[in-house]
Symmetry: D2
Subunit: 297 residues, 4 copies
């Protein structure tokens, strides 16, 4: 008989908006929360018995109830509340993994009294993944869809040439990418004080943007390593970083047929195909735990 292997279940993409009112000044948290539970679940697969199954509808209800009961201080803290609850309250559930996307909002400037009008920043989506197995915590934070460009200070030459190589070497090119990054915290024991999740996120974003801007780049791999390295060096709470960086090619348009010189001015922004550069950067001595493929983390 075929054997059941790893399995997990839960309610994905619970969209929760939490308004906190401080008089006429409101604060907003806007999350997309996905719950994934695993444990003693063989029977529901083999016979269809739901005796160990907390319905996914219940996990959805729990997300909304916890937004009221615990508030949403940060995506990470909210995920910790949820993961602890599922693992400690239901015996068959051994591991809970909470994934969160967070959308940023900023205030609209206006002349009316009060502060309860917002506009989506629209820049990166912040993400977090919180995993708990009843003893140790793993928190991975990150972001996606943060598009950056250096319009110079990038070269690409000295590479291997085989019979299929036609690319000319480049000594001044655009380097652009859409950053997808994840970083793992070394906090695992909840008897120890947790990091300041909000401050940490802001600092990591600042460092990765600065490292991108400040690296004179001979390859996107070099830029990636600098971005990861900068985070490890400046943020003691983080042990591992992984980036997935599509090389968003900007091709210099050949204007010579029209009698025009294109002195690194006019580019075609291509969609597909694109280079894809992915790597992990680790604190020395640390074992990697972030999966190789980020796309759904």
């Amino acid at each position: 008989m075929p054997i059941l292997g790893q399995n997990q279940y839960g309610k994905a993409e619970n969209r929760v908006v939490k308004i906190t009112r401080d008089g006429a000044t409101h604060h907003i948290k806007d999350l997309n929360v996905s719950v994934s539970l695993s444990g003693d679940m063989d029977e529901v697969h083999y016979s269809g018995s739901n005796a160990h199954v907390l319905p996914t509808d219940t996990t959805k209800n729990t997300v909304y109830a916890f937004a009221k009961e615990h508030g949403i201080e940060s995506a990470e803290q909210f995920g910790i509340h949820l993961a602890r609850h599922f693992v400690t309250s239901q015996e068959p559930i051994r591991t809970a993994r909470i994934r969160v996307e967070e959308y940023g909002w900023e205030r609209i400037e206006h002349t009316r009294e009060g502060a309860h009008s917002f506009v989506r920043t629209g820049q990166e989506t912040r993400v977090a993944q919180i995993t708990y197995d009843g003893s140790a915590w793993e928190v991975v934070s990150g972001l996606k869809d943060l598009t950056v460009m250096n319009s110079t200070d990038s070269e690409f030459w000295g590479y291997v040439k085989d019979k299929y190589t036609t690319l000319p070497e480049a000594y001044d090119r655009i380097l652009a990418t859409e950053v997808s990054g994840r970083w793992r915290f070394n906090w695992t024991d909840d008897t120890q004080p947790a990091p300041d999740w909000e401050a940490s996120y802001a600092q990591v974003k600042k460092h990765l943007l600065q490292a991108f801007a400040e690296t004179y780049s001979l390859s996107l791999q070099q830029t990636l390593y600098q971005m990861g390295s900068r985070i490890i060096e400046h943020r003691d709470e983080i042990d591992e970083v992984r980036f997935s960086l599509p090389n968003k090619h900007h091709f210099l348009v050949d204007l010579e047929p029209f009698g025009l010189k294109n002195d690194n001015e006019v580019y075609f922004a291509a969609d597909r195909p694109y280079g894809l550069i992915e790597a992990t950067v680790l604190r020395d001595g640390v074992e990697p735990r972030i999966p190789v493929d980020l796309s759904n983390l």
Copy 2:
């Protein structure tokens, strides 16, 4: 024999990035340009003769060549150069319509010398449509994907109730929408000075955000009218505004089954279905010209 009606053709979605170098300080314009031409094109439909057809590939080349020859001062000005060229240089082409999407970039703060590192703002996409028939110009500017929210100061009651009505009246609700707006300039004659397209855009965006924030709303229609009205009143160069405003419903979650009171704190952000409110606001005495359905304008 079936008759040919309105027809148009061109190259859509030419992605052009223009870097302007001022020493180590670079400036960027990032556009998606679509060209649509019409005129004396019966034969290519009836017999396949391309004798009147300037290839769409040529219109693409023209976009890139013009980025070099004329620069990109603004989406609108760039569209004007292109439209004039197609109508005046090819006899069979009687009308040109140029559509532009523009993506915003801001500088990355860093410590390196020079200023050539950018991050996409990611907020709204700016749009423009320039139409020219050889005598008069029509310029419609706009934006899309600008998501806004008031977390209070919105009510909805006093509406018609029929046998299919179950909605309870609301005296304090979230009002959120993703603004899609278009506004038409009264400039049509290029012997007259053109508006300052960049300054106009910035002011219109400011006015529509402020009107959204400052309107105590009894209906999304009322908010829409205030947004359009504010623009008409403050911007002499604009005669007509149209908005398409999806009502991004945020439903108060019923927490009573869990013994919790939800005092306008925890909301479910719904995707579909959504209310859709669309209307035109006009300067008195002006004929409307913006189409009823905005989605591809």
Copy 3:
């Protein structure tokens, strides 16, 4: 004071699935229904009074109730029931426009008794728009996302060449497009028998596919005209057709640098930019009514 122009409102994207049980044999209709109403709605814009406003939530309820009360014989017939209801039951509502997307399902072959297992066909999305103003009907049906290709029998040459033209002429190329089409019925008076909507759709789809396949093409415009013309000639119930045909370019890859001959075998399928060919084909003597831009019709 700024003036209110054309306005409309309603609930968009109501996803309704209707199962009809004929013993153990089930039938399925899967629709996405958008309601848009207009009429005497000035006050809700100017003052926020909802006295004339049937809530969009009610229009949603009506969609679901009508699926039970009237069944869903076809997208068009269902839209007719809804449009008539809104215009005739609420005095302030003068015009109703119902848009429908329909997703196709086919049966899964299996050995179990009964016939209630389905798989989405995944091919084109069928669309319909029904408009009623209390006296005359307008029904426009159509489809989108139907991708077709001829791997030969397409040429492109004899076109205009200006200083920006670099395209070489082609005497054997791939012609591929993603068909978006709309066709208008001449049925307007509901005292006359309505067309057989389901049979008409199947025939129109067959004709447009065959015309695409059977036309030796000197331009995509010629193919478009043949597709529209075939429909007008074969389907008496239809007076007007409009197509929006992106030219999905397949570029022959240059394999000479690798010592290989590419005899129309290996192509790069490009995304952007793309040619965009749009035109209306009419029965002789008929006034066009389908808007120039199809994308949200």
Copy 4:
């Protein structure tokens, strides 16, 4: 100094269309190929030296050249050619992973001579991943976006109830999901004959559809296990299957407020949130190798 961990690079999403001409009868293969290489790549990250880097542009060229040199018999066979080439031709490259998406086409029926007109089937996207480290092969095939529904023969009851549970038990519900599945072949040694990739795919798709249709379901987990189990039992060449099955909820609409009875006829098809059920099914004695999260495999 921060340490470099796992890293990989390559060109993603090379869109290749291969036409094979058999007189006037043409055959088509339409693939999206992503190349990912890893090996001795420390220096490019640490110093930017590209001495070991075969450019991603070259990997793109190789995809197109191989489509000519080897043809495209199947996605899997094509990936095998590519992976072998990269690992055996460049010393620093130790592992190659080729991912392929394949889009289906069927012939348009017509009266013209020849057979070179096609329409995209639009149903599932077929996927394959081929990995080679110079000694052993791993081939994982699969599909995504295959949407299926049983309109009856599904129940859900007998589950755990905690203080956040409000869901009523269901004894006759719709069960619908969008199948994402991957299956791993036990072929690893290319001195052994490879499976018939095309025949295997067709059979696996048939089995999973039939298992979905023929399982009277007490939980989506039970259905998932039946689908995987059926494949393992019928296909000797496959040792492991993993499915990710979103529960596409169809909620029975409450029509009682309108005096109507909804006897499992009218449903609201919801988007978010959704249940998400994921599991592996293995041949007894086999070690699992398919990653827990499928979304980008």
